[in-house]
Each structure stands twice: as structure tokens, then as C-alpha cells.
Symmetry: C2
Subunit: 406 residues, 2 copies
């Protein structure tokens, strides 16, 4: 038996056919080895596009410009992304600069400016250094293997680039979904952003593409927590260029369903990479809540567990402190029947009917020492399952975010 | 001109007439100098009672028992409180034990069991050690100066007891409102609780007492944040025994208004003490949001600022990182007009019309080094003002909550 969704080697945002990308060091960040800060992603063909943006009511003009473009429903062919500067909280100049960056990018790769989206990440409250962007943009070289450089060009405090891709058979063809992202971990000396770029060579109806992205984001990027803060710049973009030549996917039938699962697989993989690479993090925490009354409630319970500072510090300290998990369930203010709750750490049951049971402590401590710490709760109130990912809270987070720099 | 609300020296929960209290070391906690863990608070007369409880859907049976008693509207004459054990997540035994503790307390001080409330704080998931409680209860000695011992008996990771009292003239008499509390900082090795006890010798109509407490809690304990976690045991109780002999306060007129302000003054003082004494905290952070459209929104904005890990680490690092304050405003998802925002740190304006302005950095860094760090935002969208208090996030918090112990 072979899996229907297969991981693609040498994965990147240009794994899908008909996408090229590149990235350079333009001078937005302090220079360093392998440091890139300006990237371009371009499709050979017009793409159906879908995107989700930060719900923060103060957003970067880069978000404003891309949100407007997505709202029109127009085809998209390119994305320009910069790190080092969030282009946020800079007044009217931010909008002027975002529009100019889009124009510069379009010109550099021979597109119309209304075919190009923009994403920015980095220091807030500082204007984009337009001089170095004007100078750098024409120097970006696009290639089918340039996704790796693009992934580096969006990094801020990330310790490594985050890339993934899968292939499926759909609409009579082999179809690839790939992507890259950067972390939601908070930036030194300023907050950062979650940026995610996904591409596919599938031909996909735009309405279905939007639905597939929205559902994938709900199961992935909306289920991770590094700290509780959400940024002015969070963006997730999915482009579909149809280069695979498949029968267009319209949202019904097995192939559409498989495509949606593939998008979700890429999104979940990327989201977990963000949680794993949280600032100061030593462990990825995966919380699974089973037996909930609805998917929405299951996910909210799971998020509450991974976002609790007490659970995060307990994992860091390898302390099987299940009371903190109980507290995290209840603080959602959703109904729970305490007397039905089971809790497992790394597969070892430690709570039955809401009460601690005997377990072999060394085994649980060992489970808490794994790179991926699995917390599982069964509420025994229904059949819905939700999963969320986070990371432990360490002294490293505090050090990284408190050192004086401005 | 003299203030209408005057701080009372040697303040405690027994500053008001007709209240006696005491506390002993019964053996619920590891022994140590000045460590007490079982306290009783008793009124000479029946009291009108009001209380607020944790909204966590998993609560300690101690909360269940007190909530039931408050719901009946019966007069209350006593409170028994223990630290060391939260009596939470222990199944049916917790309810049996809570009722027995109430019975033991009532017997020890000559009251009916339905006149006594109970509060517990400490380790979760462990049953109350009933043996030491049975043995200890009769040894608690009540005295009019025993509020200080009571305040010690409820401490967990608090570094100091927290007590305050004020007096006013109301209903033709001098009336005192006093209280004590313990911290919401999270407990090593388990989570803790915010417990607050307030007493007054005023004669107060019960409906008005409940309203006054509810409004005071909204302005104080609901506006502090140490971490984002809320406990299974949070409780705030206000008892009014009428020993002052004043004309009963019914909620209308100057005296009732002054009484409500006095209750709020005590609650705010105690709440700030909790924030100041947060685990690992070096600074109290006071965030004031002015110019909001409503009190509710103003308070929500202010809470969002003090509860942001990024703001908390920025204060710890003395980093005038106003972008994080902007982010915290927007992440409420409430409407804000970025172009109208002014931000001040310790009285020094650093943002005008949503954009950074020139300031003398050393002065701002000095303001961030004060024991009380004042952040002020004017939204210029209305006239409502909200205040919230928190503390900085330091390596100390992580160390305190992650050390392995179980």
C-alpha cells in the first residue's frame, strides 16, 4: 500500500512546476553569513490566488496592499517579500512605499504591478529603506530552484529555513503542493510575523482554492502558539498556476478532497516547523484533544493547552504537572465534565476520570524529554478531535526578547 | 482639603470593627520560618456577603461549596482558608473534604456550618490532608489583630503578605474597609490562585454590596495579569457586618457612592500588590488607555498591553519598544485608528499620530527602570479611560515554574 500524499525531496516553494524564485541580500538586515532579505516568487502563468491575513486591527501597509489585491479576485503572478523591516506603524509613508516596492518588483520581472503581492517582516516603526530596495530589486535572479533562497530571504529570528512539499495524483496528473514559511516567534528587537507561501501547479477553481486554504489554515497556522501575541503582518498565500495540466479541481469528488488534504499536509508541516523553532524553544509540544463535542471546541481546548505559560514551563522542566492541563481545559470557559477526563503524556496514561492514577514516573519524565512532547486528552464527551502545536517556554525566550537594543 | 478616603495604618482584613482572625501552621506546607497554612476569619455579627469566583469550568470543590453558600443569600459569619493544597482535581473526595473543613471550622469558632465559607490554594491534584486539618483547626486563636496571621496563612509563592485598609465617613459614622489577598502568580510546583478577602464594618444592603464588589473587581482583580492562566480556585469575598452602626447603605446617594469607591480603592491596591509580586517580577507595569469609546474597550486595551509577553519582556529589557504596544492594541481586534494614537512612557511622549517621534532615549530608559513603569496610550477616539496592571516577564518566572519537582 502506498500513501496517496507523498513528500517531495529537496522541497521548496518552487517544487511545483512553473514557479521560479530568488533572493538576495539587499541591505535591510545587518549583514551575516547566508543572510538574505529580499525575495521574489514568480509564476510562469497567471495564478488563482487565496490568502489569509492577520486579524490584528493595526496592520502593515504591505498587508493592506496585498489584501486589496486578493479582494479583487484578480489573477496573481508574483510575490515580493522582504525581511528586516515590517513596514508597520510608519504612517502614510508605509502605503506609498509598499506600492513602490510592488511596482519595482513587477518591473524587475516583467509583470504588471496589479499581478504582484507584497509581504514584509521585521522591525516595526521604521520606514522601509527604499534606497537599498530600489538598488537590490533588479539583482534578484529567478530560477526553478530559487525557492530555497526565497525561504532564506524571509527569515528573521528563525534558526533555519522552513520548506516542505508533497505530490498527489489529481485530475489525471501528478500535482505538487509546496511551500515555505517563517516563524511567529517574536523578533529581537521587535515583534515578527508568521509568513507562509504555498504554491501548486494544479489547476484549481478560485472559490475552492480559498476554501481549501481557509480550512488548511484553521487546522495548522491557527493551531500554533509561540506566545499569545499576533502580529501586524501575518500572511499566508496560496497560488495555483495550473501548470500540471490537470482537469481543474472544483471542490467536489475524490481528487478535490485529496488536493485539500495535500494543502493541509503542507500547512501542518510548516506550522509545526514554526512551533518547533519558537524563540528559545527546546521541545515541540503537540496537544491532541479527543472526545470533544465539536471540531471547533476540540481545537480550542488543544490551543489552550499549548498556549498556557504554565504548561510550557512544565514541559521545559519535565514536570508531569497534569493539573496545569486541567486548568488550561477549564480556562476556555467551555463546558467540561471533569469526572470523564483522561490525560496521557507520550502515550502513558496519568489521569483517569479526572483523577491522578499511578504511573511509572521515569517513563513520563523520559517522554517529556523527547524533542516532540505529546500531550493527549480524552474528554469522553463526543467524537471530535483537535490538535495544536506549541513549544516550551525557556529562559532563552526571555533573554531573546528583553535584551536592550534600541 | 482632606481626602475622603484615608488609608488606615497597620491595615489588615480585621481593620474593620467586629472582625477577628487567626492563622496557624497546621502542616499542609513544608515547614519554614513564618510559614502558616490554615486561617480563620470570623465576624462578631452576621454579615451581608458578596463574592466572585473563577470562571474556569474546572473548579475546586472549595469553590463549589462557597459558591453554593453565596447563592443562597444567607448571612455569613466566617471564612476558613488553607494554603498548600488547592483541593482541586481530586474527584468526589474534594467535595466531602471541603464540607468537613467547613464543619470543623464552624465547630472551632462556635458557628453554624452554613455560616462559613471555604477557600483553598496550593498544589492541585492532591487531596486535602484532613488529619492535620482536624488536628490544627481547634488551635487557631482568633484576635482583632489576627488579620496579619490570616494574610500569612493564605500565602503560596507570594514573597510577602498583601494587606490594605481605608476609612471613610458614611451613614453618619466612620466606616472601615480592609482586606488581604494572595497572588495570582503561578505556583511552584503547581498553579495557584488569586484569593482576596475584604471586610467592612459598614451596614450595607446585600444587593448593593454585590454591585459594589462586582464593579470593584472589574476595575482591579480583573485588570491584572501575571500570566494568561486563570485558576481553578480564584475567589474574592466581601463581608459587611454593620458594626459601625451607620444608616444602612442602599446604593443611592453620596455615601453609597463613597463606600463603593472605598471598596474599589482597597481592591485596586490589593490587585496592584499581586501584580507587583508576580513570580520573578522586577517591575510593576501600569498601562493606562485613554480616549477609548467605552470603559469596557478601554479596559480591554489596557489588559492586552500588560498581558503581552512581548511588552513584558520589553519592560524587563528597558527597551522602549512601542511597536509591541501598537501590536497589543490591535490584537484585541477592536477598531483603532492608528493615525490618532499617542504613546507615553513614564510621561515622556514617544509616539504621535501613530508614528515615532524624537525623544531623549536616556530619559525613557530611566522611566523603564523605575519600580513602577507607566505606559500610557491615548486613542483619541472617545473619553473612556481604562487601567490595567501587570509585571515584567523575567528568567525568574521560567526558572520558578519549570524546575523539576514531582
Amino acid at each position: 500500500m502506498t500513501s496517496q500524499i507523498n513528500a517531495v525531496p529537496n522541497a521548496s516553494v518552487t517544487s511545483a512546476r512553473g514557479f521560479r524564485a530568488g533572493g538576495i541580500y539587499a541591505g535591510l538586515k545587518t549583514p551575516g553569513p547566508n543572510k538574505l532579505d529580499l525575495g521574489l516568487l514568480v509564476s510562469d502563468n497567471p495564478c488563482a490566488a487565496a490568502a489569509t491575513f492577520s486579524k490584528n486591527t493595526i496592520v502593515s501597509p504591505s498587508v493592506v496592499v496585498s489584501r486589496e489585491a486578493i479582494k479583487t479576485g484578480r489573477a496573481v503572478r508574483g510575490v515580493v517579500a522582504n525581511s528586516g523591516c515590517a513596514n508597520a506603524c510608519v504612517g502614510q509613508q508605509g502605503l506609498t512605499d509598499a506600492r513602490e516596492v510592488v511596482t519595482l518588483a513587477a518591473k524587475a520581472v516583467g509583470l504588471q504591478k496589479d499581478e504582484v503581492l507584497i509581504c514584509s517582516t521585521g522591525v516595526i516603526g521604521k520606514e522601509l529603506p527604499m534606497g537599498v530596495i530600489r538598488e537590490g530589486m533588479p539583482k534578484v535572479r529567478l530560477s526553478p530552484d530559487g525557492g530555497h533562497d526565497f525561504a532564506r530571504a524571509i527569515m528573521t529570528t528563525d534558526t533555519r529555513p522552513k520548506e516542505y512539499a508533497v505530490s498527489i495524483r489529481a485530475g489525471g496528473k501528478t500535482v505538487t503542493v509546496g511551500g515555505c514559511c517563517k516563524g511567529a516567534g517574536m523578533i529581537h528587537p521587535n515583534m515578527a510575523t508568521m509568513l507562509a507561501f504555498m504554491t501548486t501547479d494544479a489547476a484549481v477553481d478560485q472559490a475552492f482554492l480559498r476554501k481549501a486554504l481557509s480550512e488548511a489554515v484553521d487546522a495548522s497556522f491557527n493551531q500554533i502558539d509561540v506566545d499569545t501575541d499576533s502580529s501586524t503582518n501575518d500572511t499566508c498565500i496560496l497560488l495555483a498556476n495550473g501548470a500540471a495540466g490537470n482537469t481543474p479541481l472544483k471542490g467536489t469528488g475524490r481528487d478535490s478532497e485529496l488536493f485539500a488534504r495535500a494543502v493541509q499536509a503542507v500547512a501542518v508541516h510548516l506550522a509545526k516547523e514554526i512551533a518547533r523553532d519558537g524563540e528559545g524553544a527546546k521541545h515541540l509540544i503537540e496537544a491532541t484533544v479527543e472526545g470533544a463535542r465539536s471540531l471547533q471546541e476540540a481545537r480550542r481546548f488543544a490551543r489552550s493547552i499549548v498556549s498556557s505559560p504554565l504548561v510550557k514551563t512544565a514541559v521545559y522542566g519535565r514536570d508531569p504537572n497534569w493539573g496545569r492541563i486541567m486548568m488550561a481545559l477549564g480556562k476556555t470557559e467551555l463546558p467540561v465534565d471533569e469526572s470523564k477526563i483522561q490525560i496521557f503524556i507520550g502515550g502513558i496514561q496519568i489521569v483517569e476520570a479526572g483523577i491522578a492514577i499511578q504511573y511509572f514516573p521515569q517513563a513520563v519524565i523520559a517522554a517529556l524529554g523527547q524533542p516532540e512532547v505529546r500531550l493527549r486528552v480524552n474528554l469522553n464527551a463526543g467524537s471530535a478531535v483537535g490538535v495544536a502545536w506549541g513549544c516550551d517556554l525557556t529562559e532563552g525566550y526571555v533573554v531573546e526578547n528583553s535584551a536592550y537594543t534600541t
